[in-house]
Point group: C2
Chain length 210, copies 2
DNA sequence: GAAAAACACGAACGATCGTACTATATTGCG
DNA sequence: CGCAATATAGTACGATCGTTCGTGTTTTTC
């Protein structure tokens, strides 16, 4: 089926390791990820796991990339590929996030957790994290900008402002779900996001609304 | 001035230790706080520091309490004590947060960082953290509720919804300031909070506005 | 199938972790 | 002052950390 390109045994186990490391790091944080615990989980020796990365930091970077890809594939790609540009796509984006964040059975979003862990710890991990987060915010801003171009949102709207506010709600949803297990959090988030969008809707009677 | 209650040497040094631990934990997280590093910082032996708490977890709990008190004293108490109830106090609350979060030179808000670290790690620390966070959110909801009672906000408004949205913006502000060092974040937060409040303002011509 | 390359293991390293125990200073009280 | 209580230091412990190294074993390549 998918490209039958021969994947070496090494690549194969490396991916399995990263996948398990992702689950572990979702629980204990990227900083709490240890090679020993990871080795136990994948049923290998410490040195065997270690050899695939060369350093713990490289392992952490691999896990961070894996997590980012996971978010992208779960939230952004579906919306950008299968939903029409403009307001529908923007709504699909946040709906995708709802699904993503509520489906994480154990441990929250690793990327958000990493933000808290590394927002003040200089180094390669933080640098890469900033890149990833800028990309995600950028994608959101692009979705908003398209909605403005199409006329689904007012021309004078600031894409960065809207993306900021929507992102804020997603942050708060994650917060309240994970810390409070508040079943009303999702509903409140929907209300809030709708309100943000409403605020930037075109004046009535001006072109077809989304 | 303040109660001249004699404070034993032990209490004194314990407070100094917690204060230093707070600074350390702001940098490395509550989970990254180690007794050895803390002992070095305060110029004591490891065992000397340890004896004041009995366990690392108790130290972490003490630091968490210290951090919560710090937020309360910096943000909530001034607003509740010196600013008139209603919209002015609510605005003073968020302004207090702006000041608090922008004044943290090194390391972000320890409580927010702890949320990310412990939102999935059951135990006493998480339990206490939930208590503290519920208290803070509750205070915010109370400030909103007062504004509704007074008539500064519409009677039909849901205090929890408003507090949720305002809190979301404070989360996002903290996020963008610390990760992106975005100088526009504060301005965007103000815009967003104003928009939330505007949405719940009483219908025009109905009683004096705040 | 043989030679070369990649992979995995086990043992050991120095460091640091939290904690326990003992002994010595230092403090507070009568 | 003198005695009891407290506070701090020192040492040592078992565990675990990331990492290195040498040695087999498996996989890939020719």
């Amino acid at each position: 089926m998918s490209k039958p390109r021969t994947i070496s045994k090494g690549q194969q186990t490396r991916e399995a390791i990263v996948s398990q490391a992702y689950d572990l790091a979702r629980r204990d944080g990227l900083e709490g990820l240890t090679i020993g615990a990871l080795a136990d989980r994948v049923g290998m020796s410490k040195s065997g796991v270690f050899a695939h990365f060369g350093s713990r930091e490289d392992l952490q970077l691999a896990v961070l990339e894996y997590a980012t890809t996971h978010v992208t594939n779960s939230v952004f790609l579906p919306a950008f590929k299968t939903v029409a540009r403009g307001l529908p796509r923007l709504r699909a984006l946040v709906e995708g996030w709802y699904g993503f964040v509520t489906s994480l059975e154990r441990g929250g979003c690793l990327v958000l957790a990493a933000v808290g862990e590394y927002d003040d710890k200089p180094g390669p991990i933080r640098d890469q994290l900033v890149v990833y987060q800028r990309q995600m915010r950028g994608q959101m801003e692009r979705a908003v900008a398209m909605a403005i171009e199409i006329g689904h949102l007012r021309a004078a709207s600031d894409p960065k402002q809207i993306a900021f506010e929507v992102y804020a709600m997603l942050l708060a949803l994650h917060h309240d779900l994970r810390l409070f297990s508040d079943p009303l959090a999702l509903q409140r988030t929907r209300t809030a996001v709708d309100a943000v969008i409403d605020r930037f809707l075109p004046a009535e009677g001006a072109g077809d609304p989304g």
